[in-house]
């Protein structure tokens, strides 16, 4: 068996060498004929090919160094490599263009980032996809194909997490974005006094860390806490609301908290978008007798459409990954038995975390749920682009 494998492997370098030397020969034939003037493009390709081939040969010899090859082979393959390098340099000089070397610099500049992203981003993304076809109990892993995806439908916890996440998404994102839009439209009006102060103040929540503000809200929304106290003093409610004790009110708390944190942030996007809308547009509308309401719906919203799509997608992605808030609002935080009363704050990300680090680790199943989030993000972004009708 091994012999059958080795024979073509031994032959391959020679084959590559032949192709490489042929391309060198072809490229060389063209060079002397056209000194200093423009080259047929294929010479450059040819030289590049020969270089690539030469590198492959050298790599082959280095990798299979246990295969016995006479020293002469090494020498010839390195000679091919040097030859093609020299040829390329000649070409570069002759064309008097930096095209090739510039291209190299291009790769050089992006190399570190690309390598880091490949290792810490693309490799995990792909590995995760493979993992989602496996079931693991601790260290033991076995291939289950689409079994994990089938398991999802019967998993009550997953359904609950999915439902909770979607409730947050459907209720919180529109409220927040609409509020941000209204605020932006108001604060874009130059006749409003103290605009800077209002902007700064409303943006300020976006500075806080997610964990810090969540815990602040947890304290404010405790049963005998500040919110209940104030509401009772103002005679809005008679009984204290069990904010974080009741499944419904716990969700309301998360929605209020998130709206507080992100409205100003989104408002700033709209404000910067509105800067490119000429004031004359509003003035003309004013003269035509359009009310503020009409201006809002017929000028502000259409002009901001691309930014609204952008913020919607960003908020969607953010909400689908919701983790810090439910984790820190729930009793006992990371170590708590449930996430929120009756798991009412259990989101997909929290469930993934639990599957990996709290229960008996089942990385395969957790990866499956992670990919469910990817699919949802992809589908929702696609729909949002379609609805907006933008061809960006």
């Amino acid at each position: 068996m091994q012999i059958i494998c080795i024979i073509p492997l031994c032959e391959l370098p020679q084959l590559i060498e032949v192709v490489a030397s042929w391309s060198i020969l072809k490229a060389e034939q063209v060079i002397p004929r056209s000194k200093g003037c423009s080259f047929p493009r294929y010479t450059i390709y040819m030289a590049n090919f020969s270089l690539v081939f030469a590198i492959i040969i050298v790599a082959f010899f280095i990798y299979f160094r246990n295969i016995h090859h006479p020293l002469q082979k090494w020498a010839t393959s390195i000679a091919v490599y040097v030859k093609s390098e020299v040829l390329l340099m000649q070409l570069r000089k002759a064309t008097k263009s930096y095209e090739r070397s510039l291209d190299r610099y291009g790769w050089l500049f992006i190399s570190i980032a690309v390598i880091l992203l490949a290792v810490f981003m693309f490799y995990p993304i792909i590995y995760s996809l493979i993992l989602s076809t496996m079931s693991s109990k601790g260290i033991v892993q076995k291939f289950v194909g689409l079994g994990n995806y089938k398991k999802l439908i019967k998993d009550e916890m997953f359904i609950k997490a999915l439902k909770n996440t979607f409730i947050f998404l459907i209720i919180q994102v529109p409220i927040m974005l609409l509020l941000a839009l209204i605020l932006a439209a108001i604060l874009n009006d130059k006749t409003i006094k103290f605009r800077g102060l209002f902007r700064t103040g409303i943006f300020l929540p976006a500075v806080t860390s997610l964990v810090a503000y969540t815990i602040l809200f947890k304290m404010m929304f405790s049963v005998d806490g500040f919110i209940n106290l104030s509401l009772m003093r103002l005679h809005i409610i008679k009984q204290p609301i069990p904010w974080l004790m009741d499944p419904f009110w716990a969700k309301v708390t998360v929605i209020i908290a998130m709206t507080w944190r992100w409205t100003g942030y989104n408002m700033v996007f709209y404000l910067s978008g509105l800067q490119s809308v000429p004031d004359e547009l509003y003035e003309a509308a004013e003269i035509d007798g359009a009310s503020k309401m009409q201006q809002f719906f017929h000028i502000t919203i259409p002009m901001l459409k691309p930014i609204i799509v952008f913020t919607t997608i960003m908020s969607t992605i953010g909400t689908l990954q919701l983790f810090d808030e439910p984790m820190n609002l729930s009793q006992g935080g990371v170590t708590g038995a449930t996430t929120g009363p009756g798991n009412s704050l259990l989101t997909l990300s929290v469930y993934i975390y639990n599957l990996c680090f709290k229960y008996m680790p089942n990385f395969g199943y957790a990866a499956t749920i992670a990919y469910v989030i990817v699919f949802i993000v992809a589908i929702l972004s696609f729909i949002q682009f379609k609805v907006a009708g933008d061809k960006e």
Partner: protein, 271 residues
């Protein structure tokens, strides 16, 4: 005329209400750090005299100084590294146009859509394999290349005149020299904005540090606050103080570099 007046008043009332709601928690957190745990949870809104008690509780039970400097160290190194790497990458993408690189860029941008949860598990295993669990190096290394920052830099490089670079090349300047001595100095505000964005993300990070920094010595401020509040008998006054300490750097940066700050948030949208 009267109608306009009325709507004006409603608008101002609305603005003031939103302003108060936005700012109140900041006031409350400062008040909270001077009150006892019971008063905090009862919603006391005036300053108390428990500040020194809270400080004592916080500083004697937790190594706050160390944790604070952990946070500072991680964020600063992340900012420096990711600015250098990401701006270089953006420069490569923008000023050396080629089809292959454009495709690479498109793939990189697309990966922005993938939520962190999808990489979390393999990334965790990778960190374990590389023996970087429980180290700051692991945390920094994984957050060095940020897609968003590459995107942000590229958007602002688009407005940089290409003729200047061409002229420098004619004068015989090397490619790296052009980048470090012509492009970087004239893009200071972009760097400032990106630095703020990067600092904020790294300072406020929770999920990833929670996973890879498991020992108390390596913790960051966010992890400290989170673990303090999930204790059986949370010391609310001390938590408030910790929250103030964790929020203060961001507020200081916000007020000193406000323009860059907002630019950092929205600058990527300019084109």
């Amino acid at each position: 005329m009267k109608k306009i007046r009325l709507s004006r008043i409603i608008i101002y009332l609305f603005l003031i209400l939103m302003f108060l709601i936005s700012v109140f928690p900041f006031y409350w957190m400062i008040v909270g750090m001077t009150n006892s745990a019971v008063d905090v949870i009862k919603g006391k809104m005036t300053f108390g005299n428990q500040f020194f008690h809270n400080a004592k509780v916080l500083f004697s039970n937790y190594d706050v100084k160390r944790i604070f400097f952990n946070s500072i160290k991680i964020s600063t190194l992340t900012v420096l590294g990711s600015l250098a790497i990401s701006s270089m990458a953006a420069y490569g993408f923008e000023f050396y146009p080629s089809k292959a690189r454009e495709k690479t860029y498109a793939i990189i941008l697309l990966s922005m859509m993938v939520p962190f949860a999808a990489l979390m598990i393999p990334l965790f295993r990778l960190i374990v394999k590389l023996n970087l669990l429980n180290t700051h190096r692991g945390l920094i290394l994984t957050s060095l290349a940020s897609v968003f920052i590459i995107f942000f830099f590229r958007q602002s490089f688009k407005s940089f005149p290409k003729e200047i670079i061409q002229a420098a090349r004619v004068d015989g300047a090397g490619e790296f020299k052009i980048f470090t001595s012509i492009v970087v100095p004239s893009m200071k505000s972009t760097y400032a904005a990106a630095a703020i964005y990067s600092f904020m993300t790294s300072w406020n990070a929770y999920l990833w540090p929670l996973i890879i920094l498991q020992s108390d010595k390596q913790k960051t401020m966010t992890l400290l606050i989170s673990s303090m509040s999930s204790a059986y008998f949370p010391e609310y006054g001390a938590i408030m103080l910790a929250i103030v300490i964790a929020t203060l750097p961001m507020i200081i940066i916000f007020f000193t570099l406000q323009n860059y700050f907002v630019q950092g948030m929205t600058g990527s949208l300019k084109q």
